[in-house]
Every structure is written in C-alpha cells, then in structure tokens.
C-alpha cells in the first residue's frame, strides 16, 4: 500500500508541477462566473418567458433544470478533459520519454504502479466533478430558487462516469500512443453523448428502435448511461408538458437505468482494469 501511495503522490505532483491544476482552476472559475451570469439573466427575465396560452409549462422548473442540465454537461466535459490529460500518457507516453523504465524496475511492480496512477487520477477527477456539480447547483439554487429533485445521486453518478473514462484512458495508454489515445477517448466520449441524446429522443417519442440502440450504447459505454441517469434524476418528479419538454433534451434525461447499470458499471470498471493490468504486464518497455 505504501508503494501505491508513493506513486499516487508522484502523479499528483506531476499534475501540480505541470500546472494542470492551475489551468483547471482558472478555467473552472471562468466557467462558474459565466454560469452565474447566465443564471442571473435567465431568472431575472423569467417573467418575460411566455409559453403559448393553451399549455402549462412550469417556467422556473424548466429554466432551472435546463440551466443546471447545461452545467452538468459542462461538468462532465471538464471532468473528462481532466481525466484524459492526467492519464493519456501514463504507460506509452512515459515509456517513450524514458520516465517509466526507472520506476517499473523498482519492487513496486507494474500492477501497483498502474493501480496507483488510476486511484490518484480517479480521486482528483471525481472530487473535481463533485465540486463543480455542487457549485453549479448552488448558483442555480441561489439565483433562481430552483433545486433539483435529487441532490446527491446525480453528482455521484457524474463522478462515476468520469472514473470510467479515467479507466478507459488508462487502458488506452497501455496499447496506444498518447496522441492516439487522447483522440480515441474523446471520440468514444462524443459517440456516447450522441447515442445518449438519441436515446432521450427515442424514449420521449417512444421509438422502440432508437430506445434499443441507445440501450446497447449505454451498456457498451456506461459513462453515458450514468450521465443520462443523472440528468433524469434532477427532474425525476417533473411531470406534464414541463417534464416532456425536458426529456426531449438536450439537457434533460428521458430514462432511468436504475441499479442494473450501476452494478454493470462496477463490473465494467473491474473488466477494464483487468484488461489494462493484463496488457501492461505483457508489454515490452
């Protein structure tokens, strides 16, 4: 365990010295400021939003859920960027630069090294996601007096989604160069988002074919399922036309995967981790 703590600390110091955290903090502060500004104007002009006279839309719920859904997307995106840049070169990149070899020949061994780098990155990314999630929620709540129907679960699901991306990026670093890995992970992320959005529309319109395709995508890329689940949770109690409009997206979830996808997420993490450890153990350095 001490070796794992040493290597996790090594990864943290690397991120600190490379000013990764500084860049992330500055950009996050900028995002939160802009988000506050957007909330300020949206809720300030809430009374001017006029839906058609013959329909009822809860304007505050609609605006709050839409704005907070947008913040959740940004939170996920920033978390994924952080996760990818912390891990995309852990094996191939560091091996190419000659940084890895002096560490791997030490008694720590390859498995502990990879686990340590994963734990360090996962801890940082999930803490970051939770911070931005709750900060965004506070901004929306204090600006517009709207709070999500579920407070904690969506944040935890977003954190787990980023942890999955972290694991995928580490697996990619075992077999791909840093550049190829970065591109691959971001393309997976983008594909997942598109599939999730399509699934939302399919559920709202009750299209079986689209729902089926989205379900497959959710199982293959569970980070997307968790994100959709988190979006749905924030308006879990919304009903009527307000709920329907939110479920159409792009910043509202249409379906809840429930405990099945959460259990699968754990199994998926174990499988990705095992594949990464297996590949790293057999890789020539």
């Amino acid at each position: 365990m001490s070796h794992i703590a040493v290597m996790a600390g090594y990864g943290m110091r690397e991120a600190l010295r490379r000013k990764v955290f500084l860049v992330v903090l500055v950009l996050t502060a900028l995002f939160l400021f802009l988000f506050w500004l957007a909330n300020h104007y949206v809720f300030g002009e809430l009374s001017t939003i006029q839906p058609p006279a013959d329909v009822f839309v809860d304007r505050r719920t609609f605006a709050g859920a839409f704005m907070f859904g947008l913040a959740m997307f940004a939170t996920l995106f920033l978390g994924v960027v952080l996760a990818v840049f912390l891990t995309l070169g852990v094996v191939s990149g560091d091996a190419e630069r000659g940084l890895l070899q002096p560490l791997v020949v030490r008694p720590i061994g390859r498995s502990a090294l990879l686990i340590a780098r994963f734990l360090g990155a996962a801890l940082v990314c999930s803490a970051y996601v939770l911070f931005v999630y709750f900060a965004s929620m506070a901004i929306t709540g204090l600006s517009g007096h709207w709070w999500p129907d579920r407070i904690v679960t969506p944040g935890v699901e977003l954190g787990c989604a980023v942890i999955i991306v972290t694991a995928l990026s580490l697996l990619g670093s075992v077999v791909l160069s840093s550049t190829a890995n970065g591109i691959a992970v971001f393309m997976l992320f983008g594909a997942g988002l598109v599939a999730g959005l399509l699934g939302s529309i399919g559920h709202a319109l009750n299209s079986h074919a689209i729902k089926h395709a989205a379900a497959i995508a959710a199982w293959v890329l569970p980070f997307e399922a968790l994100y959709q689940d988190a979006l749905r949770q924030i308006t879990a109690d919304a009903s009527g036309l307000t709920g329907f409009l939110l479920q159409l997206g792009p910043f509202g979830g249409a379906y809840i995967h429930g405990w099945a996808i959460r259990g699968w997420t754990a199994a998926y993490l174990v499988a990705v981790g095992a594949a990464a450890l297996w590949g790293f153990a057999r890789r020539d350095l």
Binding site: S2, E14, L99, Q101, P102, L103, V105, R106, L285
Partner: protein
Amino acid sequence: MAHALAVSGLAKRYGSVEALKGVDLTVEEGELVGLLGPNGAGKSTLVKIACGLIRQTRGQAHICGAPAGSSAARVRIGYLAELFRFPGWYTADEVLELHQRLAGSGGGPAERKRLLELVALSDARDRRVEDMSKGMQQRLGVAQALIGEPPLLLLDEPTSALDPVGRRTVRVLLEELRRHGTAVLLNSHLLSEIELVCDRVAILLAGEVVAAGTPAQLASPRGVEVETDEGVRTIAGARREDAPRIVAELVAAGRRVYGVRVLTSTLEDTYLEAVGGETS
C-alpha cells in the same frame, strides 16, 4: 551460491527480427562484466530482460537465483537505462528520495548525501533535473541505480554523455563497488573503459556471444617482431616466452639484433575481428 546474474539460452524475437539467439552469460558476486557489440547486437535487449522490462521469447534469466522480472529479482538490482529521463520538476535530492521509497531503502538523507557525493553532485542537491546538463543527469542516474546497495548493477551505456572527468568518476566508482562485492554488468561502446575496469568481457554480434573471456585472454598473442641488420621481420604465432630463443637463433646465424617486441592485440583489435567491422 547463486550467480548475481545467470542467463541461459536467452532468445528474444521482435516480429521477424531475432534480437537474441540463445545467449549464455553469468556475472558472479563482485565481478565486473563488460558487454560489447555493435548497435543492434542485442546488448540492451539482454539488459532489459534481466531487469524485467521485456520478456524473453525463450530461455531463462535469473537474478541471485530469482527469475528476472519477479519481485524478488527487482529488489536485488540497480538499473540505469540507456535512454532514461527523470521528471524535470524534481530536484536531484527528490529523485533519490522517490527511488528510496520505491526501493524500500531506509538510508534516508544520509544515503542520498553519500550517493550525490559519490557521483560528484553534492553541489546540485537542490537543482532541478530540467536545469541539469545531460552529463549531470547521467551521473544522477548512476546514483539512483545505487540506492539500497543492490547486489547487482545493470548499467546500459552509463558514460555515454559524460566528459572525461565524469567517466573517470564513474570508473573509480565501479572499481570501489567491485571491492565491496557488488556485481556489475556494464554495457558500453567505450572499449578502453571496458578494458580498464572489467574482469570479463562478452562480445555480442547479431544476438550471439561471439567472444568472451578476460581482457587478457581476449588480447591474444600476435607474434614477435625483431629488428635486425636485415630489417624488421615478424615471427607470427610466437609468444613472449619464445623471444629469447628467437634472438639466440638469429645471433647464432650471424645476425645483429637491435630490438625485440612482443605483439599482442588490443581489445579493440579483438572486437573488430569478432564483429568483422559490422555496425548498424
């Protein structure tokens, strides 16, 4: 007692390229063995297998009796890679501290201070790696390999970036390590260095050991050169012990002898003969 390093029938294939073709080699406790060969001969591959960085296709490699790459083997080696880098934002002292923790060394600050003195980096203790010259980084790499006093050192081109003074520092260090019983496998292109410090030498060519022995054994006799009133002549195959007899015979035959020189090949001659001038 187990060899510090023992490899037998060691082979490694990269796709269609056979980097090692069944190499046998041992390094005993306190022995300094030099590994020579042209680029691509398989020297670094052999060292990397011994460290557990790459896996052999067939054959065996053991460190102090433990299979190479195993946890038991890794605690017994110190390794300096040919192409390595330490994080640029670490100071020399921090690099050594990190490796102390990973190696489980309890030497603390005293060990770090001693190692930095050994490689003449005492003044650079708090200097960041990114502010060091290549030679300083290489000496820091040597210090890193010595952490925890491993019984076997595997050094892959440890002096390639060093100036003559730096090379001498490392050479003196290697001799001191030998006196303390540390085994060293030294992979180098510098024949003079190998000749000066190594107890035994193995020459690799295309993945095979083509010559091995002590530097004296490899520096074989090449005859005796005699300068007489008829000019200079070379008696091929003659040894040092044959010189008095040759002189006596020439004097008896009425020749005047002005000088006698026993010819031996240098390690460089042996090396060039073994590899046939090959490089890649």
